[in-house]
Amino acid sequence: MIFLTGQKSSFYFAFRLAWRQLWHDKIRFVTASFGVIFACILVFMQIGFKNALFESATLLQRTMVGDLYLQDEQSEALWRLVPFPRQHLYRALSIEGVDDVTALYASQAAWKNPVTGVNRTALILGIDPTKVNIFPLVGLNDEKEKLQMRDVVLFDSFSRPEFGPVQKLLKDHGEFPVEVSGQRLDVVGTFKMGITFSADGNLIVNDRTFFKIFPMKSAMGVDVGVITLKNGDDVSRVQVQLRHLLPKNINVLTKEEYIADEKAYWNDITPIGYIFNFGVIMGLFVGLVIVYQVLFNDITNHLHEYATLKAMGYDNAYFVKVVLSAASILVFAGFVPGWVLCFGLYSLVEKSIFIEMNLTFEKSVLTFCLLLVMCFISAVLAVRKLKAASPVDVFQ
């Protein structure tokens, strides 16, 4: 209504003044915007990398269909699992509401590229072939019958190309032999999962084959226990009962807790989370310095004029609004092209690292808010000089 009646608020005038000031010197405006674009790209990329790390690290956990998960408390992450006695998993069946339990074995081993002979590290999942439905992965259901056979392996077609042209070899020659941790196995099919920061490729084998690859491991020691409940049963109740039933060293986790646990490892225990967070802070700091410099120079160059406006009756609050408006304009001017650039950069990086990088709405909002805070801090720092400007100066 304010605009319709022709009466406009001081916010409108402050914003308009800020816009006119920035727009008047276009080269300077573009330079300042580049500062924000730079910060925007840095923040987006760091958040993107961190998110890709978490997404890939928890890929298996998010993929698995289970209501509760059992792990030894000393297991730090999927690639550093400590087995727990299988009997504890079967004891879970005694709890009312538990429908089924599945023992999952996981470890890493060297895969020899069938063409080049170069070894790459792969995550190998061992499972009872009849329970393979806990992984609703594309292609896996079609291949599960083959998994019943001895010494066969299913290959993740989303693995890095360094693993060799597995799909092409399968298509051209049918089943073909590969070497995994020195054991000869036959590749009989593929599925689609995706790689993680800890492994460049994934394989699924039946439990007997798993122990052939890892002779030091025992079927009595389960790496992850997956528990499915009868439809509609209360997860929290069963979780509490299991905690009472099982020894203290067995963690009973819901799916959300299991995912959070894996994330916490990468974020808190490894330096990777810290490195990405530090990258975000550095990006924001660089942007803060650039925006502060632009705003500060604008204020310094017009200090006498602003002092004149103060002498005419303008108050400090008006100038705070002007500087905050200028900061907001810079955020928009930097964020929009920054977002577009990152859209391209994300797909470029995705093609290089083979890990999904999505420029989601949440990431966009988070980055925008961080940039807004960055620019507002710059504005608050810069406006101190303006507040100190005395109208008396115009009489000196």
């Binding site: 022709g6 009466q7 003044l17 006119r20 002092a307 004149t308 005419m312 009756g313 009489f395 000196q396």
Partner: protein, 229 residues
Amino acid sequence: MIKNDPSYLIRASNLIYDYGTGDLTQSVLKGANLEVCSGEFVILAGPSGSGKSTLLSLIGALRKIQGGELSIVGCDLRDADDIVMRKIRRQVGYVFQQHNLLGFLTALQNVEMTLEMFSDYSERERHDLAVQTLQSVGLRRQMDSYSSQLSVGQKQRVAIARSLVHQPKVILADEPTASLDSKTGLQVVEILHGMVKNTGCGALIVTHDHRIFEYADRILNIEDGVVTS
């Protein structure tokens, strides 16, 4: 105690102002007395360091008074807080030695800035009043020019238009002709004089420029912090 007489726009009585403290105290105003009535064009002259600018800044509510009494447009400034001081400033039209126009605004936008402080104008009214005022100072054709495109004299006239557009009750000018050639300087003074005579506001002009003394209704001298007729 100053009596609240509406015909007096400026009344200063026994004004005292010191800079510094202790042994470094320097008294600039030592009991200055001054009155400016409605429709009066008063010139204040005096040598450098006599206290002219300090007196002007006190009258313009830019500083708080330290001693004596001061009333502007009927408002006692002795115990005025920041809000009152700002209200007073909005009733005063300042013309400074330097034009201090915002270089990124056009002449028209600079003049409109004054009116944007007041919520009682619509966008159209603001525009029309600013155009009208620029016309009265002979700058109708230059209203869309930036200050970099204007001569020094034109800039000073824009600054005057900015000071007068809201029809202030008091005009304060500090050496308004100092940076102008004689012809433009006289034009500027004529504009200020005309405004005083046409609207009934009061003007206090600080100047050394003897050429404009003939426009004055009264000429006051200030020397060593004391005002004399």
